[in-house]
Symmetry: C2
Subunit: 314 residues, 2 copies
């Protein structure tokens, strides 16, 4: 079963009459003149992180940040959150306190509040966070239009390179590792973009797999120009030195947590004119070739081994 | 650290300006003329359940039910829910489908809808459910009044006996095991009671530990008469035969998921008169002796080894 098949199964099995349910970064329920957004992401030890790479404080901050990124991807403002925590007794109360210390830092940093949760002893760390936010004009992933430009708000591949470095085990710090460990949800940017764009998603599992989610939901295709994707020049060197695939890091790396959006040419001019300081890059365009995703590097088609991280791959 | 200390630490560290946050069965946020309730409970393989005892369908139903019970304890109506699921790849898609089949049954049974979630491969099953509900008049656990009567809506100890039977490993079915496996959240009862009672909680971790949560939050004490607690007569026999402690099963067993409430004498008469068919039992009363919890069996004080399940016990 692919993720797309699984989502289709869920949507067919679970109709949602209160608003938009399964299938986007968050659910959307209209309340008064605003929409309530709710998102949940789970993080599991040795699946999403290794304890040797993160302090408990860093882990809490990252867990919160990746959830806030989903609210950002809808153009929303996060308000409060719930945390379900499975925690081994043997880790002791200092580490437990460090975890909540991290959450408290996150509260101050991103102006959100902890509203509740559940706690259990557990053989390994398991973190489930649910964020409640709101948006007056939520942006969905299923509204990409033919001839829309495809934009991203920052570099991709840095977090993936940081993870590769951690897994290689030779270094524990440095720019790329920090990029992997510290996620900055693009909350303000998402709100600005929501006034202009047609579709939006945050890059959690990899540029291509996440773009593909937009294409599947919107029933469109896309063509990307690799040379337009902003790539940290050091990535080229590091990949060359280590024999890593640069394309794979940039296009399928995952955990970038920048926003990917599609926007009409006209609106993109307006976006640029009205927000001169806003960092974003146009990397391709949407077409009506349903299911087609072509990436070219200076006109030459690229093939990469896999699109990105899929929990459903067998 | 005890649970009470942990909750105090969280409440001090995380103020919540949108409504009532940490410390009750659900958070409560006023929206228009109603209050939105949100609750989350996590269930972890080999902590909360063993896979040999439950089908995936039963597991899904129970996970949903225990969360709905928290909404019931506030006198609320559950509306929709989110599920975070960690699931071992090796279990295969039939079992995954059975899990969602269980959720779908729960949706029909309790008139709730699935609004979203997150899915991950995982070394063991981890279930995190978040339920959103509403109540016009939410009932808190911190409002027990001196001289209130203490009531419960059903028998306790049955689920605990069922669990003991499962762990003993000799039988796999039977009345008590079914009671342990199939939870019925008392949603309608909670709504009826909410028009009369001062404080309410659902019995998840054991009668005494959950009553103690009401007492701590309300800064009161209580005296219970054991002989007034409804006990399935078979429990006496089974405990006698197996050398199990009946008091412990009934008072500290856990997973009963009946409601415990405190109510003034006057309102209790009104409750009885206006709802002749409603099953509940008055088992004691609240006093102003802060922190005191006395249980007597026909006048003789009872001591039990431990209050109930505490995830914070070391």
């Amino acid at each position: 079963m692919t993720e797309a098949e699984f989502v289709k199964f869920l949507q067919d099995t679970f109709p949602f009459r209160y608003g938009k349910g399964i299938g986007d970064d968050t659910s959307v329920v209209k309340i008064g003149d605003t929409s309530q957004l709710v998102t949940t992401d789970i993080l599991i030890e040795n699946v999403h992180f290794r304890l040797e790479d993160f302090t408990l404080e860093e882990l809490a901050l990252k867990s919160l940040a990746v959830n806030l990124s989903d609210i950002a991807a809808m153009g929303g403002i996060p308000r409060y959150f719930y945390v379900g925590l499975g925690f081994p007794r043997k880790m002791g109360k200092k580490k437990l306190a460090a975890f909540f210390c991290g959450l408290e830092k996150g509260c101050r940093q991103w102006q959100v509040e902890l509203a509740g949760g559940d706690y259990s002893s557990s053989p390994m760390i398991f973190i489930s966070i649910v964020v409640v936010g709101e948006a007056r004009n939520p942006i969905y992933r299923d509204n990409a239009q033919t001839n829309d430009l495809v934009g991203i708000t920052g570099f991709t591949g840095e977090s993936a390179i940081g993870l590769k470095m951690l897994l290689a085990g030779e270094v524990k710090t440095g720019y790329f590792i920090e990029k992997h460990k510290h996620v900055t949800p693009e909350i303000e940017k998402g709100q600005v973009l929501s006034r202009y764009v047609n579709a939006m998603i945050d890059l959690s599992d990899g540029l291509l797999i996440d773009l593909n989610r937009v294409l599947t939901a919107s029933q469109k295709g896309a063509r990307l120009a690799y040379e337009k994707i902003p790539v940290n020049p050091q990535i080229k060197d590091i990949c060359f030195q280590n024999g890593w695939d640069e394309y794979e890091a940039v296009l399928a790396g995952g955990e970038d947590y920048v926003l990917l959006f599609t926007i009409s040419e006209q609106k993109e001019m307006k976006l640029r004119n009205e927000n001169p300081g806003l960092e974003y890059y146009i990397i391709g365009e949407i077409n009506d070739q349903k299911g087609s995703l072509v990436v070219e590097d200076r006109g030459r088609p690229i093939r990469i081994a896999h699109l990105g991280y899929d929990h459903f791959e067998v």
